[in-house]
Amino acid sequence: MEMRMGLSVHIIRRLLLVVPMLIGVTLLTFTVSRVVPADPLAVIVSEKAMDHPDIVAAAVRKWGLDKPLPQQYLYYLWNLAHGDLGVSFKTKRPVAQDLAQYLPATVELAVASLLFAMAIGLPLGILAAVRSGSWIDHLARLISLLGASMPPFWSGLMALFLFYFKLQLLPGPGRIDSRAVAPHTITGLYLLDTFLLGDMNAFADALHHLILPSVILGWFTLALVCRITRSSLLEVLRMDYIRTARAKGLHERVVLLRHALRNAFIPTLTTLGLAFAGLMTGAIMTETIFAWPGIGRYAVEAAVNLDYPAVLGTTLLIAVIYIFVNLVVDILYGVIDPRIREA
């Protein structure tokens, strides 16, 4: 009971810290984005409309560009406190609506990539540690090396060429078949939506389309997971308590699964947490090549177009994701290792 209390106090404390952190993030992003020597009107108003005072005045009024910067910032914070992220200069839609539009595709891809990285990376890392120096260790090293060194824009194009174009084993870009229409939006996660709608053909199609991009995006994470699992497991296997366990005559499988893995898993968990947040935000190349309408491309376009409301909105979202993932990882530490929870 006491331990549980400790955990919830810990979570509450962490959650309270989120507010000042987010304010800091907005202030930093706001300041940095306004330092750029460019006029947001260049994005909002077209070249030909620029000579028309009515159009320019309407734009200035709509986005409050005539107000001094500190006032613009306070106005932004005030709106933010009311759940309003502002209106994008570029898309001219509420930023919250844009983010809600692009986030599900990113979540679906990031989760699939993470599952792929774990499904292959963990067993491979464990086998590489247990059979250290064997062919499987070398194979694991090769797979990791490829994952870490191949940029997704190249591996993605190659994968499409081979598996889609030449071998015709897997579907092309996009989240569904090019002749099919996207499922009715419930959550925006196509797998979940098609499942809930009971359209199993569309479900299979969406799953099919997820394979290549998630493998390409997840490969780097796989490499990380594999190498870290291997090295931390190797370290743990050299420890005294493992020797003791073996000396007790325990079966090697028990030694490995019950005694060694639990401790070896902590560094891997840290990596997975960071990697997941990275997958959520760093998939720009994969999104471009696989025509995946996710948050990464939205963020990049916002940045190059000086779309401050969208830049602030995506930065906030990314900060929230990092904070949330770190919190989950912290809680999981406690689950794996009770000493952390007590501390």
């Binding site: 460019a38 409309a49 898309t91 090019s178 898993f265 025509a291 000086l306």
Partner: protein, 526 residues
């Protein structure tokens, strides 16, 4: 132990799902009576599909197929205005009043009749929303409903360009009843009170051959045929436009039969497309010009403010080499600001490279030993290679060019602030009238001329004639004269006019390239 076991179970489940997925049957599309056309393109530019808010490129194609305009330019003759919703029209002797007679009995897809009131509402909404395309309606002073099928438009000044403006997709006629039902208004404060944009982003309220049924940003646009279209039933049942940014992948989709039409292919991939027996390649002549602009302001660059130096620079560029080597021949060149295909262009006026003459001009201006200048441009891969070529071309006459690539948005704001001396940019027309070029490259207080501090009363006098003269021969002469003035002052030298490489399945019939809205889906069959 438990979490480890739980994770292992998760891994096994994930592997099973992936395995099952690989074996799963491919989803079959729902059958439709008329063929579906799948088009792949980069539609990153689409931000809205409300015709009175949209001011990008892809939306022109969508609006041309979902709405009707009063008149249009058909792909086979870009110099002639053809009737569309309006059967005929009259222009008053003073050029200030246009009377349009609408085709009787036309209905919107909602079933409401198309009336003169819809024309009035549409144009006033466009004007009062005050978003980017509002400038199309600038010249409209008043729209009067004479009767259900007759509408009288009064202009702020006589304009021979008005019919061309009426053909622009922004001037589309919307169903006023439906738009009002969804919060739309044409009131003077429409920029703050109109609420129909969200609805019009997902639906069309027009009388066009197709109906917009869905738009998922950066993913897809779905159009369904309007079986009651007044000019005949479309030959396609559905058009699915998919966003695919990578050209290699887009071509692979056509080669595999997953897509039927691709709007613009990279020059590097043309041979691959031509080699495929199932595909056809069509080269479209765009009206997009790329130019070098040189300031007339001595404070920004003393050498460039001397017209002899500007002439020398124009004579130093190896235009032919640029088009052949960098664009692989998929480009052409007009003599001055007016692109090939538009009234008043005389290709014989085109001036090429002449290094001796350029050197002589530089010597005369006192820059025999050359000078240094920064070339600014919005960076993209094509522009980078061309800028490098320009640098080496100008080095041959002793001019040292420092390349200053910028993000497009930074470039635009710097240029608009009139701070740049030497620019490499592009110009795309919104409607097919010569004023689209002559207004923006001649008046000292407008467009590119303003940004480059260009000010010549003679150029403005000619631009004024072009903007107000109804006599075609006199207008054409003024366009020719203006180009001569501009080629003498040389504030701009046109580098190349791009060509668009269109690829489609051989089964697709009826394609005619249009430089404004790309294609009319109504013409296509499969």
């Amino acid at each position: 132990m438990k979490p480890v076991r739980w994770i292992l179970v998760l891994i096994i489940v994930a592997m099973l799902i992936l395995h099952l997925a690989a074996c799963a049957p491919k989803a079959t599309p729902t059958p439709v009576p008329l063929p579906t056309l799948v088009m792949v393109m980069n539609m990153d530019d689409v931000v809205t599909l409300d015709p009175h808010h949209a001011y990008e490129t892809t939306n022109l194609m969508i609006h041309n197929s979902t709405y009707d305009t009063l008149v249009e330019f058909r792909a086979d003759d870009l110099t002639k205005v053809a009737p569309r919703l309006a059967d005929r029209w009259e222009v008053s002797a003073d050029g200030l009043t246009y009377t349009f007679y609408l085709h009787p009995g036309v209905k919107f897809t909602s079933g409401n009749p198309v009336t003169a009131e819809d024309v009035r509402f549409s144009w006033m909404r466009l004007k009062n929303i005050k978003d980017n395309p509002a400038f199309y309606a600038d010249i409209v002073a008043d729209v009067q409903v004479v009767n259900d099928t007759t509408v009288k438009v009064t202009l702020t000044e006589p304009s021979p360009a008005f019919l061309a403006i009426c053909a622009a997709p922004a001037m589309s006629i919307v169903d006023s009843k439906v738009v009002k039902e969804h919060g739309g208004t044409d009131a003077p404060d429409a920029d703050q009170t109109d609420k129909a944009k969200d609805w019009l982003d997902q639906n069309s309220a027009g009388s066009g051959p197709f109906i917009l049924t869905k738009w998922t940003p950066k993913a897809e646009i779905i159009l369904e045929a309007n079986p009651n279209y007044w000019r005949g039933k479309p030959k396609l049942g559905k058009v699915i436009i998919k966003h695919v940014a990578d050209p290699t992948t887009a071509l692979q989709m056509l080669q595999r039969g997953d897509a039927d039409l691709l709007d613009s292919l990279d020059v590097d991939l043309v041979e691959q497309a031509k080699a495929d027996p199932n595909l056809q390649v069509v080269i479209g002549q765009t009206l997009n010009q790329n130019y070098l602009a040189m300031t007339s302001n001595p404070e920004l660059s003393k050498p460039l403010s001397d017209k002899r130096v500007r002439q020398a620079i124009a004579l130093s560029v190896d235009y032919e080499g640029l088009i052949q080597a960098l664009l692989r021949g998929y480009g052409s060149r007009a003599p001055s600001i007016i692109p090939l295909g538009i009234l008043g262009v005389d290709p014989a006026m085109t001036q090429g490279r002449d290094l001796e003459k350029a050197k002589a001009l530089l010597k005369e201006a006192g820059y025999e030993k050359g000078f240094e200048v920064d070339l600014s441009y919005g960076s993209n891969p094509v522009r980078e290679t061309i800028a490098a070529k320009l640098k080496s071309d100008l080095a041959e006459v002793g001019i040292t060019v420092n390349l200053k690539p910028m993000e497009q948005s930074v470039y635009l704001s710097e240029m608009r602030a009139q701070r740049l001396a030497f620019c490499f940019g592009g110009w795309t027309p919104d409607y097919l009238d010569p004023t689209m070029w002559t207004d923006y490259f001649s008046y000292h207080d407008r467009g590119i001329a303003k940004r480059m501090w260009y000010n010549n009363p003679e150029a403005e006098r000619l631009a004024k004639i072009i903007g107000t003269e109804f006599d075609l021969a006199k207008r054409e002469q003024a366009i020719k004269d203006l180009q001569k003035v501009l080629m003498d002052d040389m504030p701009f030298t046109m580098l190349y006019q791009t060509q668009q490489i269109v690829v489609m399945n051989k089964a697709v019939k009826g394609f005619a390239y249009h430089p404004v809205h790309f294609v009319s889906f109504f013409d296509l069959s499969k």
